[in-house]
């Protein structure tokens, strides 16, 4: 009996999930970017307008959500490097699976640094 295919770069298994995650994080970052350009534009209106809107970024809930934003950005960025290596490196497609795990490890290390720092800023004295 023929063996089931082990999955290709984008169909099934890790390659596909990395692609799904890349899309979801990309959309999330895009919509944050739209909001972020608009909130920053308030510096052209008045200091009070800008300060009052930026204050919402310092609340407990949004402060914790920023961990998700940074997590999405870091994943998208490092998986983007993986995509470029698949495109341009001779052995990229061969090692795409391993590279996905490397992306996750780098991501986890950076998040382990960022999360306590952010929690300290949001909830610290």
């Amino acid at each position: 009996m023929a063996k089931l295919p082990a999955g290709t770069l984008y169909r099934g298994k890790l390659g596909m999930w990395s692609w799904v995650l890349h899309r979801i994080t990309g959309v999330g970052i895009y919509f944050f970017l739209l909001v972020h350009i608009l909130d920053t534009a308030l510096v052209r209106v008045s200091a009070e307008a800008y300060n009052s809107v930026v204050a919402s970024y310092k609340t407990d809930i949004i402060g914790v959500a920023e961990i998700g934003l940074v997590g999405a950005i870091l994943f998208h960025g490092f998986n983007g490097i993986r995509i470029m290596l698949i495109d341009f490196w001779r052995k990229g497609a061969k090692y795409q699976n391993v590279m996905f795990w490397i992306v996750l490890v780098i991501w986890a290390v950076l998040m382990a640094g960022f999360i306590p720092r952010q929690l300290m800023h949001i909830f610290g004295a």
């Binding site: 959309v27 534009a41 200091a47």
Partner: protein, 147 residues
């Protein structure tokens, strides 16, 4: 509606094929720049300041944009991230919409939004005036304001 999938090895004579290739290249070049620009952006705004995000206010922005370096830096992020993001969204729209009118409407909305926000953001960075804050001299004591 039937979806026509071209032969992958068919010669690219269709108008727009070059554009599609350039978009593909742009995603990679802008992506490399954005990794460095945005990690730097996060470090300088969220991680390194003692109070992190809580340190961000009008005075913080005025302090940064007093230097042309940060104006150019933020302008680069604005242009590259918005075009990169808009082109990424266009890819999703092209993948997930079947009705031609809907695809065209969504893609037009995406590029009009990008154009307006790039214009807005560029104007905000280039015409920024810290003197609109009456308390500006408490944090920029050497600044000379007209009037």
């Amino acid at each position: 509606m039937a979806v026509i999938i071209e032969q992958p090895d068919a010669p690219r004579s269709r108008k727009g094929a070059q554009w599609e290739k350039r978009a593909w290249i742009f995603m990679r070049i802008s992506g490399v720049f954005l990794i460095f620009l945005i990690i730097g952006h996060l470090l300088v705004n969220l991680v390194l300041p003692e109070r992190g995000v809580k340190a961000i206010d009008f005075a913080f922005v005025a302090g940064k944009w007093a230097s042309p370096f940060w104006q150019v830096y933020d302008g680069l992020i604005l242009w590259l991230a918005l075009i990169h993001g808009t082109n990424g969204m266009r890819t999703l729209v092209n993948d997930y919409t079947e009705r031609v009118w809907l695809r065209k409407a969504l893609n037009t909305t995406l590029w009009v939004t990008a154009g307006l926000l790039i214009l807005l953001g560029t104007l905000v960075i280039t015409t920024f005036d810290p003197c609109i804050d009456p308390n500006v001299h408490t944090y920029l004591p050497d600044l000379v304001c007209k009037g």
